[in-house]
Amino acid sequence: MRRIVIALLLAAVTARAEVAPESTGSVETLGPPQPHWVWTADLLLQRSALMDLDGGRMLGIINGGYGTIMPLFARTRPEIYVPATYYSRGTHGTRTDVVEIYDPTTLGLVGEVEIPPKRATNAVALGHAALSDDDRFLAVFNWTTGTSLSIVDLAARRFAGEISLPGCSLTYAAGNRRFLSLCADGAAFVLTLDEQGNEASRVLTKPFFDPKVDPVTEKAVRVGSTWLFVSFDGIIHPVDLSGPEPSFGPTWSLFNADERAEKWRIGGMQHLAVHRGTKRLYALVHRGERDTHKEPGEEVWVYDLADGRRLQRVALVNPGFTIYGFPIAFGGVGGRLFDWLMDSFAPPLVGFITVTQDDAPLLVTSSQFSGSLGVYDARSGAFRGRVGPTGFTSDVLQAPWGGAAP
């Protein structure tokens, strides 16, 4: 080590045209959140990564624990919430569930709230936690063969209590105190909280769909106080939570008779997105038989929510393929050739879509094994290119920042 010390002393005096000695210990921080910053989860690396779609680079990551990883983003305070499950010995030992609180500028952990070790660790991220519009309460869906919600008071950073669900599952928020769940018979369950996060009232409706005939998926999107659920057969079921009792808007179909004959179906693990400013619905579709409701999509169909009219069909390309984080592609001429072949011949295999909420919105796609994103102009549908690698695998996409409020 002595020679190194000497080197430093010498460097101090001799450094001129040379590269100047640098200091250690610096850590990047992020500027204000941008609309084109998108989070993409990676379950193999147990994280969600923040990608800058304009800069085409990774900005940082937040790790999660066992099971699904889907951060929730406060609008009224600079905080990100990650429900997480841990075992004291990794795969065994004592289980601890927490809601971890991160700072969106430093991506550093700033707090945690312990919750009952009952959090559901299912294969779907969507509908498993919900944040009230005023960021006061977080509801976490619990699955222990029985179902319940853990309510966290985020202002006080305390566990407010557990509320049982009557044979219902999942949680979707609308407004400041209202949370929706779906029941096994096709009914809706609406829970209203009081100011302490305890149950103020509950409503269990009659079934609004038949799960045995044509179930709605868990992958719903929200417009204002209305949640839009889509069924395996492509029927949109609006559920309005503005009143104490939910109201079920008129249903409408993504597909006409001819399209059904062509076997167009909804598919993938995150198959709906909404641009709130233009009130457009984006649906990930493919041609397939019955029971292909989780198969990846080949096109995104765009609808006007005002009248359910389809505005556009966007043919998708493969979002890119990586192996253990290494993108399979070329630079230079070979790169353009490879991209052309990928665009032309690779199956799109899109499993996840989302849309940014700004006035120049982007449609973002990923495949679960891609570790890479496909980016499109959400208005024209034009393919803008790929951004990646994002990690080893891809999961739920989130564009939480910018644009109109829900």
Binding site: V19, E22, S23, G25, L30, G55, I61, A125, G325, S367
Partner: protein, 181 residues
């Protein structure tokens, strides 16, 4: 992780059923080549890193030797890890939310811009799980673990909150007094 991993692999499995016949020829073609070629193939393209102003005295950033997101960047001659430049940091700074280890191993790398040898400190960034991008492992002057100051196989995440490794920086400490042995 499991379930989601399932669903991700699911895409593979489902596609086989649907495409094996249709793309059988293509598949065979790939199979015959990937076994031999996948390795050289993979890292041909890399994540686009931070675009930053050139550092005085360094090679042209448009060249690999001057690009902190490339394994061939001149400072990386003894690095072992993921390049922080691809992970939200830079060759000098850690990505957001990580901590930079104050202790680390040292490399002696020649700067092609001035032909001089510099002492490079590969401080690890710690506290988050592996970045996974832009992996780079070069062993110029690397020594076994019992010779710590020159061993890149040691996990250098010490003097920080956790030993969990995320990525590595490559910081210029100064000129080396001896040319590289």
């Amino acid at each position: 992780m499991t379930s989601r991993l399932d669903d991700w692999v699911d895409r593979l499995t489902r596609q086989v059923a649907r495409r094996t016949s249709r793309r059988g020829l293509l598949a065979r073609l790939a199979a015959l080549t990937v076994g031999a070629a996948a390795v050289p193939l993979l890292p041909v393209s890399r994540a686009r890193g931070a675009s930053r102003a050139p550092i005085p005295g360094e090679p042209d950033p448009s060249t690999a030797a001057g690009n902190p997101s490339e394994c061939e960047y001149w400072r990386h001659c003894a690095i072992d890890g993921f390049l922080c430049s691809c992970c939200g940091g830079s060759q000098r700074a850690c990505p957001p939310g990580t901590e930079q280890s104050p202790v680390t191993w040292i490399g002696t790398c020649r700067n092609p811009a001035d032909g001089k040898d510099y002492i490079i400190s590969y401080n690890d960034c710690c506290g988050k799980h592996i970045c996974g991008l832009c992996f780079c492992h070069r062993n110029e002057g690397d020594k076994p673990i019992y010779f710590p100051p020159r061993s890149n196989d040691i996990n250098w995440c010490y003097g920080v909150s956790t030993v969990v490794y995320h990525c590595s920086t490559a910081i210029v400490l100064g000129l080396a007094t001896e040319t590289k042995s």
